[in-house]
């Protein structure tokens, strides 16, 4: 690979990258490559975002929509983790459970989470239940797979040691497999967090009575491109914050293990 860049050169190039991006955007909007309505200036998007903090759009302010989405997201994500991680660990230990669940899991695996939307709306409505189910559909698989893999690849000598001391199955799962597979579980949670958030936005675009996704789809209907872009930024920022938080936890766990 190329040599390490000097700090100054790195900063200069990064800045140039950002300038190119915003420069091209501003220029395209400024010469009205497309009508302003469809291609707003970056500054207009910022203004609209600030405006949305006080003026409601389709029933709520930006933070109001975000609050609804985040509430749904946390409940769906926590449910997926609360079911997926223990199930994965147990499957890693109990062979029969693995044999029973895996074929069912594999036959559902290829259904894109978003394809559950019609059933979710039919079964749980478009309030919190339906979207929660879609988050669950998106976030469940990575939780389960990573917990399972983590449990399967635990160093056998730990398990043997626990067995020598007469630990029972449930105790081995809880006191050996869980801590030993923690890094893999957290990596799974990171994937789940992203997948669940994306699934929620999809569910809210298609069938929900509130949330950032609904705000975006209403703005699309009103041809208000600035609000659509404000929504994209809000979605991106929140998703990034969740990822940064989980990455922080991941690093801490790894450091405790001396990695």
């Amino acid at each position: 690979m190329g040599d390490k860049l000097k700090r100054a050169e790195l900063m200069w190039l990064s800045l140039a990258g950002l300038l190119i991006f915003f420069g091209v955007w501003t220029f395209a909007a400024w010469v009205e490559l497309a009508p302003r309505k469809f291609l707003p200036l970056p500054s207009q998007v910022v203004e609209r975002g600030i405006e949305l903090l006080t003026q409601p759009f389709s029933g709520q302010t930006l933070q109001g929509h975000l609050a609804v989405s985040i509430e749904r997201y946390l409940s769906g994500f926590l449910l997926a983790a609360a079911v997926g991680v223990p199930l994965g660990l147990l499957m890693g230990w109990y062979r029969w459970l693995d044999n029973v669940i895996t074929p069912l899991f594999d036959s559902l695996r290829f259904i894109a989470p978003i394809a559950w939307v019609p059933f979710a709306a039919l079964w749980f409505g478009t309030g919190i239940g339906g979207p929660m189910m879609i988050i669950f559909a998106g976030a469940f698989a990575p939780c389960l797979i990573n917990a399972y893999r983590g449990a399967r690849f635990v160093d056998p000598k730990y398990i043997e040691a626990a067995q020598v001391y007469g630990a029972s199955g449930p105790r081995i799962v809880y006191e050996v497999l869980l801590p030993a597979s923690l890094p893999s579980i957290i990596a799974g949670l990171r994937i789940s967090a992203g997948a669940g958030w994306q699934s929620l936005i999809g569910a809210e675009l298609i069938a929900a009575n509130s949330g950032v996704g609904l705000m975006m789809v209403r703005a699309q209907g009103a041809l208000d491109t600035s609000i659509v872009m404000v929504g994209m930024v809000a979605v991106g920022v929140f998703g990034m914050l969740v990822d940064v938080a989980l990455r922080g936890i991941e690093k801490r766990v790894q450091r405790k293990r001396g990695h």
Partner: protein, 260 residues
Amino acid sequence: MSATRDPSRLWTGIASVVAVVGLWIVGSRTGFIDRQVFPSPPEFLAAARQLLIGEGYAEGRIHEHILQSVKLILMGFFAATAVGVPLGLWMGWSRRAEALINPIFLLIRPIPALAWIPLAIVWLGLDDAAKVMILWFAAFVPSVINSYTGVRGIETPIIEASRMLGVRGWSLVKDVIVPGALPSIFTGLRLSLQGCLTALVAAELLGALLGMGKVLYQAGLDIYPAMILAGMVAVALVGFGLTAVLDFVERRSMPWRRSH
């Protein structure tokens, strides 16, 4: 999860699938499963037949819906990876390229593909073009990231040795960098493909004339649970089929990993 050749595993697997189907049959016969919310097996078969050989549903039969969806997936997938893979390789190779492009990439990366849907519709309407744009973003991000990590993962001695042997320019790219990064590139392609499928179903649920998402949308609107289930089966089969093709290509392109 791994496909072991353990016969007891195979039999328990078959037994558990049979048990679930049995529960489904018994549950719908006894009325324990409400037909308003989940179809009975005969209803599902009738819907499948209607879609497959009958008059069709949502303005088309299943092969028309699947062809439309697969066409868009392939268009989005190839358009995105044709840019994403070389870009990722270049960013992995040159620190300068990375420094220049990474900030732009970091702005795009956190936005989930599905969040591009409203913008794509505002810009391009409900045509195929809007869907290809959405799929492009769905497939672009994973293909860049994994090609990048692939190059970064090549051990420095390998590159130094090739240089010393006088491998340079295009042949360095073709014979050292691409093969070295290939496993990671394929990981990225797999994620890209999954992303395309999800994004396409979502985009079609939001507005399409034809496609598997259109079937799901129409069935949801008509409250026709049997057709919802049939649509989901179609989505799963297409997902399975496309992944199988990619697996085949992967095995073919990396014969040195046969044992895997």
